[in-house]
């Protein structure tokens, strides 16, 4: 019998962290994701798995605590929402520069500035194009259900450790706040010290017993050496792009018009596809699951049969740029999205698609 629960997306993040062997969570409250730390504090994992949970004094401190724990090879995470993630930009750059694995969850809200606590998807640029200084990328996963909020926690850690790169779960206020059925996966224990030595002993700061000392740093004063390091990073990103792009297609086999959307917009887009199909429009849904790497090749392959693409985001149009790059402007790509905390309705999306269809014919 699967262990089924009804959970908020934020609660699922917390439950998954404990059950997948996360070593530490450091965070600072911000709506709409405060339930992550509240749930962790309520579940007291330090008494069971030994996971550390600490409320930091700021998002800046949180990400640097993550940096510290990650330096020691631990599976460390934080969660926040848009303005808090802005504060973490420096830390993310350091993590990427020091090639440290970690998980950052962004349950995003509307900006710019203090903006609104209502849902938004306006952090796509920040998440996928760096989110800090220097040439780096985060591995970005975009859950569209509470089950995926749960499942992407272990997945993000696995990817982060495989590539020694920070990973982000980019959610939104809807996915964080809504409840859905979640199947709790079998628990994965935290790695033992021996397992840790084996997996991260070559680089993590665990005390230099029986080995040369390890140094975690991102500073390099010799430009020639630093260029080589940057090239190594870029080679890593190229490998990630090659191997890790994930996406989902719904009703695409005969589709002429495609909605491309992630997260909550994909759920709304799916409903819009249902509405359009009921009116005889051959619509389908392409849902990027990884936003970085963006599933460009698969989208381009699908685009060959299409007449038009509608990119649906809760923003003024961010992912649409990657969609256009992917299909190299071979067909019309329009954007539809509400912002400022307003969530588009399935009807609005369907109407926008019909308008695009008219323009394409």
């Amino acid at each position: 019998m699967p262990d089924l629960r009804l959970m908020k997306g934020n609660e699922a993040i917390a439950a998954a962290a404990i059950r997948c062997g996360c070593d530490a969570y450091f965070g600072y409250p911000i709506t709409p994701q405060s339930e992550v730390m509240e749930t962790l504090m309520d579940m007291r994992p330090w008494e069971t798995t030994g996971m550390v949970v600490l409320q930091a004094e700021s998002e800046i401190a949180s990400i640097n605590m993550v940096y510290g724990a990650a330096s020691a090879g631990k599976r460390a995470m934080t969660s926040s929402s848009s303005p808090g993630v802005s504060l973490m930009a420096e830390g993310l750059s350091y993590l990427a520069g020091a090639e440290l694995p970690c998980l950052v969850v962004n349950v995003s809200r509307g900006g710019p500035g203090l903006g609104t606590i209502q849902p938004s998807q306006a952090d796509y640029f920040m998440a996928t194009k760096g989110g800090g200084h220097g040439d780096f990328h985060l591995i970005v996963l975009a859950p569209a259900s509470v089950q995926e909020m749960y499942d992407f926690v272990p997945l993000a850690f696995d990817l982060a450790f495989t590539y020694r790169n920070p990973a982000m779960i980019l959610a939104d206020g809807v996915i964080g706040q809504m409840m859905e059925k979640v199947e709790l996966r079998p628990p994965r224990p935290r790695p033992t010290d021996e397992e840790m030595q084996k997996s991260v002993g070559s680089w993590a700061v665990t005390g230099k017993r029986n080995r040369r000392r390890n140094i975690i740093t991102s500073v390099e004063l010799d430009p020639a050496v630093h260029e080589k390091f940057n090239q190594k990073l870029q080679a890593k990103y190229a490998e990630i792009q090659e191997k890790e792009a994930r996406y989902e297609e719904l009703l695409c086999s005969d589709a002429q018009y495609l909605i491309v959307a992630y997260g909550i917009s994909a759920r709304i887009g799916q409903k819009a596809v249902e509405l359009l199909r009921s009116e005889g429009v051959k619509a389908g849904l392409f849902r990027p699951i990884t936003l970085y790497p963006f599933p460009a090749k698969s989208l381009a392959a699908r685009a060959r049969q299409l007449k038009g693409i509608l990119c649906v985001e809760l923003s003024a149009g961010q992912m649409v740029e990657d969609v256009r790059l992917s299909v190299e402007s071979a067909l019309p790509v329009a954007h539809f999205g509400r912002n400022g905390g307003i969530i588009h309705s399935p009807n609005e999306v369907a109407e926008a698609m019909k308008k695009l269809k008219t323009n394409c014919e």
Partner: protein, 253 residues
């Protein structure tokens, strides 16, 4: 008895700590950083904790600190060493964790992180180098710059109404219940160096014994920033800094 007869391995009375690497230090002549690195290395060696010590290097002149001590190191973002140390220590209670910070790193950009790490009573040792100036960026005002002291950004001397007051960090830290040991030391004379090393060892032992945070301020010189020779800088420090930042233990619980 000639020198050759004295200089024999069996007569060696004092040598560079084995915990120091052979890398030549990049600091200016006479810089206090080197002396503090040395006593930190000696303290680690004498306590026998080289294999379970992790240091956090700051941003500032000591950014390359990890080159000089043969232990595991993490280089932190500017001001964030106490948060990084928290992350390491909380997930690895068996390690000795040191955060090494200058006055800009600790007392300006990283004020929130140091106060909260200390207030939580993280079981770490903080080494705070206070030379009242920003050395690496070229001698600008620090939070701890004395009133009247000339720096690149206070060319007429620090004025309270314009630049605020010098910040007595150790006095502030001593107020926090999470901190068990606060001491202010210097390394400008042989006696001061001996005393500072004793304080450092005590700080490390207390933090490891989970008494809370140990906070060791070292009043230091910056001869380049102060535009004095190293020996003049030591003298200036004794005459001007120490009356305002008096040496000794401020708290020892």
């Amino acid at each position: 008895m000639n020198i050759e007869e004295i200089v024999k391995p069996e007569n060696l009375a004092y040598a560079k700590s084995k915990t120091l690497t052979d890398a030549p230090m990049h600091y200016c002549p006479g810089c206090s950083h080197g002396t503090v690195h040395k006593i930190l290395a000696e303290a680690i060696e004498e306590l026998g904790i080289q294999d379970k010590a992790v240091g956090i290097a700051p941003v500032g002149c000591a950014v390359m600190l990890y080159s000089y001590l043969d232990i595991d190191w993490v280089e932190a973002a500017h001001g964030r060493a106490p948060a990084v140390a928290t992350g390491i220590k909380r997930t690895n209670p068996h390690l000795h964790v040191f955060a090494y910070q200058g006055d800009g790193d600790l007392a300006a950009i990283g004020t929130a992180e140091i106060i909260h790490a200390c207030n939580r009573g993280e079981n770490i040792t903080v080494i705070f180098i206070n030379n009242a100036i920003y050395g690496m960026t070229g001698g600008q005002m620090a939070p701890t710059t004395l009133l009247g002291m000339k720096t690149a950004t206070t060319p007429q001397g620090r004025q309270a109404n314009l630049n605020g007051y010098p910040f007595k960090v150790s006095e502030l830290m001593a107020q926090l219940p999470g901190v068990s040991y606060v001491t202010r030391q210097a390394v400008h004379t042989p006696g001061a160096v001996r005393q500072a090393k004793r304080a450092l060892k005590k700080a490390v032992e207390k933090a490891y014994a989970q008494k809370g945070t140990s906070f060791v301020e070292v009043v230091a010189t910056c001869s380049s920033g102060w535009k004095l020779s190293p020996t003049e800088a030591n003298r200036w420090m004794a005459e001007n800094m120490l009356p305002f930042y008096p040496l000794g233990d401020l708290k020892d619980n």
